[in-house]
Symmetry: D2
Subunit: 407 residues, 4 copies
Amino acid sequence: MPDRRVGLWLIGALGGIGSTVALGLAALRRGLTDSTALVTALPQFDGLELDAPADFVLGGHDIRRAALITGVRSLQRRSGVFDPGLVQACAQDLETWDANLRPGTILGSGETIAGLADRTDLPTAETPRAAIEQIQRDLGDFRSRHRLNQVVVINVASTEPPSATRPEHTVLDQLEKALGRRESAMLPVSSLYAYAAIDLGMAYVNFTPSTGADLPALPELAVRRSTVIAGKDGKTGETLLKTVLAPMFARRNLRVLSWVGHNILGNRDGLVLSDPRNKSAKVRSKDQVVAHIVGYEPQTHTSIEYIESLDDWKTAWDHVHFQGFLGIRMTLQFTWQGCDSALAAPLVMDLARLALHAQRRGDVGVQPQFACFFKSPMGTDEYDFLRQHEMLEEYVRRDAAVSRPSS
Amino acid sequence: MPDRRVGLWLIGALGGIGSTVALGLAALRRGLTDSTALVTALPQFDGLELDAPADFVLGGHDIRRAALITGVRSLQRRSGVFDPGLVQACAQDLETWDANLRPGTILGSGETIAGLADRTDLPTAETPRAAIEQIQRDLGDFRSRHRLNQVVVINVASTEPPSATRPEHTVLDQLEKALGRRESAMLPVSSLYAYAAIDLGMAYVNFTPSTGADLPALPELAVRRSTVIAGKDGKTGETLLKTVLAPMFARRNLRVLSWVGHNILGNRDGLVLSDPRNKSAKVRSKDQVVAHIVGYEPQTHTSIEYIESLDDWKTAWDHVHFQGFLGIRMTLQFTWQGCDSALAAPLVMDLARLALHAQRRGDVGVQPQFACFFKSPMGTDEYDFLRQHEMLEEYVRRDAAVSRPSS
Amino acid sequence: MPDRRVGLWLIGALGGIGSTVALGLAALRRGLTDSTALVTALPQFDGLELDAPADFVLGGHDIRRAALITGVRSLQRRSGVFDPGLVQACAQDLETWDANLRPGTILGSGETIAGLADRTDLPTAETPRAAIEQIQRDLGDFRSRHRLNQVVVINVASTEPPSATRPEHTVLDQLEKALGRRESAMLPVSSLYAYAAIDLGMAYVNFTPSTGADLPALPELAVRRSTVIAGKDGKTGETLLKTVLAPMFARRNLRVLSWVGHNILGNRDGLVLSDPRNKSAKVRSKDQVVAHIVGYEPQTHTSIEYIESLDDWKTAWDHVHFQGFLGIRMTLQFTWQGCDSALAAPLVMDLARLALHAQRRGDVGVQPQFACFFKSPMGTDEYDFLRQHEMLEEYVRRDAAVSRPSS
Amino acid sequence: MPDRRVGLWLIGALGGIGSTVALGLAALRRGLTDSTALVTALPQFDGLELDAPADFVLGGHDIRRAALITGVRSLQRRSGVFDPGLVQACAQDLETWDANLRPGTILGSGETIAGLADRTDLPTAETPRAAIEQIQRDLGDFRSRHRLNQVVVINVASTEPPSATRPEHTVLDQLEKALGRRESAMLPVSSLYAYAAIDLGMAYVNFTPSTGADLPALPELAVRRSTVIAGKDGKTGETLLKTVLAPMFARRNLRVLSWVGHNILGNRDGLVLSDPRNKSAKVRSKDQVVAHIVGYEPQTHTSIEYIESLDDWKTAWDHVHFQGFLGIRMTLQFTWQGCDSALAAPLVMDLARLALHAQRRGDVGVQPQFACFFKSPMGTDEYDFLRQHEMLEEYVRRDAAVSRPSS
């Protein structure tokens, strides 16, 4: 693929994940880090023609005013991660990409997220359509200025409160009519971005539990615009373990009596989640997976608490109580101590590469074969991580089988 | 299958696993417990014609003199497991089966195991062949007295020290010649039992890390006698988790730096394992699985310590140190608190049912499709639990596809 | 002390703690268990003339109708505790004490607790004074029928929601006037019992976080009636550990950044605590101790969740994040798995013995030297467990020094 | 104390602890860090006239050739600790102190430690006396060149294998005669240093489990030379917790059944401890404390394993099994994740300040009041951390009471 250039546009670009994606992309293109934690760098993906790190141009929206390096240095200082030499060597790339950052919209984002905004130049829109058009101007400008062959838009912003699905959300024609109303709550803000991206024929991935493209009308739009959708809610730590361990209990016919998960973390995500409305969307996404896998409903409880001193080090304690032979009750507990941004960032890059590739090969609409990356996968009921991963491997094998003869 | 009767012969019948198998079999046939923890009770096994609990007659060898109920009551008192009402209701069955217990051999079993023997009527044999013939008299007598259609012999005895493979072990003809020598160390005691069972055309399963049928000559004998072999070392707890979690790290391209596992337990198995020679066989079996799965060699360390107060409650603490994106190091720890006998017993029953079924359908030799039950599976290099389970499910599906037309 | 008989009256007698106190008292008097877990059985208490288990008669209030043995058997069955033989041998004593149980009052107890009541004969009272008089009739009847030298009343009932202190609560004379009003919320139900007991000159101990005697007017009443008060909220597990570990951080000048404690349990206490109003009183009591000990306010978070399958096995996970030399952050985590009733019951007996003894030697009012038994000690600001214990040991030494010459 | 200058001489100066002491001393004198983790910075020590960080000159022996900054940068890079800016600002001080480093002796240090030596200029001595004289030349030179009022010598070198006490060790006169023999094993190397320091009238502290001054003849020498001794084996993490938690079980009359502690670490100390001979001294020191505190012998097991990837982050998992009321068995587990050097370094500074002060005020011989700093305290049988700390506070109060009138 000679002289290809592709765009990765991050919604919430200045957060921990966004900063780490930027640093990681720069480090990879400069050969300063290896590909550990990039799923698409595994040998089984060798058959796919994926975009290389050097092919990417980064841009994004954020409601705060800062430079990408600021987020990186904050993670470095507060969470003790990132080699200082590596950060220094990548600083120039991050500065270049800063020029691609644009003020985001807060129309319908809820108070807690709006309260994080510190820019005075946030665009104001009176209707969802006006907000979408502002977003599209930014996206279109990014594409044309950098002469990008393709763009993927990925939502890595803080979780918004859950919102009810409305009748207008189910049919694309009705949704389009409703966008002109002066009604800020008509679409959640994450869906404004999703609409904007898909409508421009860009690939769209939702790495958060926010609504995004998870409304019936938006896959319809994706099909019409020949682009792809994947989501939602990146599966990085505690939930990943749940979807690996629950299948073990199921296959051994051990009965899960209760599954309690406590998560503590201290980054901006944690702060937003300390608002019970925003938290509820996240907890729902984390809490459902066990019942989906075992096929019955053990008592479950999931909590997320903001503990400032932990910064980006999310710590989860899970307590699984299960019943074995002759009614005997036993316990499995685990503690997971992971750096949230460093777990998420490579998966965001994987999804960018896979979504762009899927669009190129002609796939449209929701892509269920990317389920292994998500807590609440769209387009499939498969929650078992290893089965999800096999769906992906099978997709890769089929693709390789198809593309090889032509090469 | 009208009027079928099958035999389950346990080597080490009076240990924790043996006692629990006896209690469980009695409880299941009397409808006093449900099938939780029996893998073969899962719906995906419905297509196989497996023997029902009521079809089984129990017998076994042991080097101690006791009744089956003694082991059950000891577990009940020391480990606080088993409902007293259930034990009472099953006592009669256990007493009936006591009549099928025979004194085992200690020829070549090593000092620590020999030290547990408390019978004065242990048979003495001067050659391996003589010991095998004594064992075969007991097995043959069991089969004829109870008019059994089939017998499966399962080793659930304490772990013996590792022994070197000799030239005579590799070819059946040479082995047969060597059996007559007055050389007690010629075959480890677990292999004497394996030889005896296989030579009589009985199915043989090794639930321990001892050698058993894991010598080239014995699969050869199994083919000649039209019977099946499976093993070795039942995968009940900590190692099960390793073979579920290691694949997660591999598929996420997270690099395992070190994996430390500490096991503490206080039952007779633990006591035998406090002899370093016996422990080494067990630790080797537990320690190898991670490297097999991830494809490189992280630093690993596995310990097993005898802590008397824990009785049958094996507690394992595992500490996994791994590297993510940009070189960041993270940690997963788990604690597993399981009742060892109650974890093992249903798997022993599963293997009895599956081995008898395999022999009936004409399979011979080593059965790799039972790998998911073992720490050190024979006949395959697959250590990933969920892939092992798929091997089993695939086998079940193929069998059902074959047997359905004929039914 | 020849022919002494003393009464132990439990408010909430049929709960897990009450049942275990009854079983334990019976087992101790029959010599069926040793004195493990009884603090007052340690050698340093030898100098005190404490009542022996055989001197005690048991009675109590409860809003449910059941027998003491029912609670014991429920713990035995659901939580797998208590030796069946021991329960059998003590059943007669428990039945005898059942005759001393009386229906409790729910005046002002809050909905969640009232919802547990299953008796149709609960006394109805229109004023706090009327409720107190009903309680006093039961207490007085117990004392006279059994010719008791002394009675101690201990609150082991479920936690009530917190209630505001009113002006009438601060001065005894005003409180007495207000008791006649038809106003059910005038005093929380735990304080009705406290008033009733103290007013009869009985010793009163509050083992719960409910208000009880923790109103300024009630110590005043205790002094007037020559009796003693101790409380509140028994320190049995997670909080005990907090008050042992926090002093370690303080003495090593390690800075606690955050202390998170998650408690899960499945007994009736847990059920009551799943009502956020009742939970708030408990969490406040557990959450405050760290700041009291270290002298500054680290971020703290304490949760209690009702997880049915755990029954009486309270499991706590605490995560302590602290800063050491040169700003380096480190972590201590602990998991506590304790049987709640078995931890509490011996402390209830200790407090009964100590309170009766204190009253006999002429102490009156709040007894701060019993602080080591409580999460929220009355009459002292000392939260450090080992310092609290030294207060108790010092008291015992002084007492022994005084009483020895006279003996 | 105008114009005082004191010397801190570290045996094993280039290890993790030594490097961190150097960095910490520099950071404190430059006001770049606060006094967190320095016990002697707590208000209760305000009454003592202790030397300020700026009063100290650093020197030491090591068998490796390196600069102090090398160890610091290694910890920074491998364990992710120390702020880069702080290290930069202190580099000059460390370089100045490098000039005070001298090659150590390996006479009688055992193979594993000797194998770490990488200097070709290590002094060779044919007799213990000759080795002592070489050490004394270095110490004397340090004292005179820097015109030091006092010097304290602290052993922070790797643990040596345990050695048998000989008759010559018990009486000073006999020891002095034996020092001239050509017998390298006559005194362990740690005792050569101890002898050398004490004989010069310098204070001596042993922060390791090696023998050091723990031979009857050496306190005798200390009295004769008017200097002080303290030791041994700094109590920084897992053992600190044991000596805080075991007293809790004792005071609550809960019976400890077993206490298992597994330690994993990856620094040079860990490497030395992977030699079973060196490990045995350490394990003995860690393993004994529980029995000393509870007054009986629960089953205990302590392990230390070298896990390279952990570097300086020592992780300990302890499992405590205990029996409560009515024979019920419960569990406490903890996980400690601490940076070993950062835990030890401030205690080394505390001991330097306290030992110099004790010598100034006229104390001589073993100082038991410093027991709270050690796993195996010399001169006392008190292992309970909080009681040990009270011994220290009492000593401080007495000292303040004495010194105040004179001031």
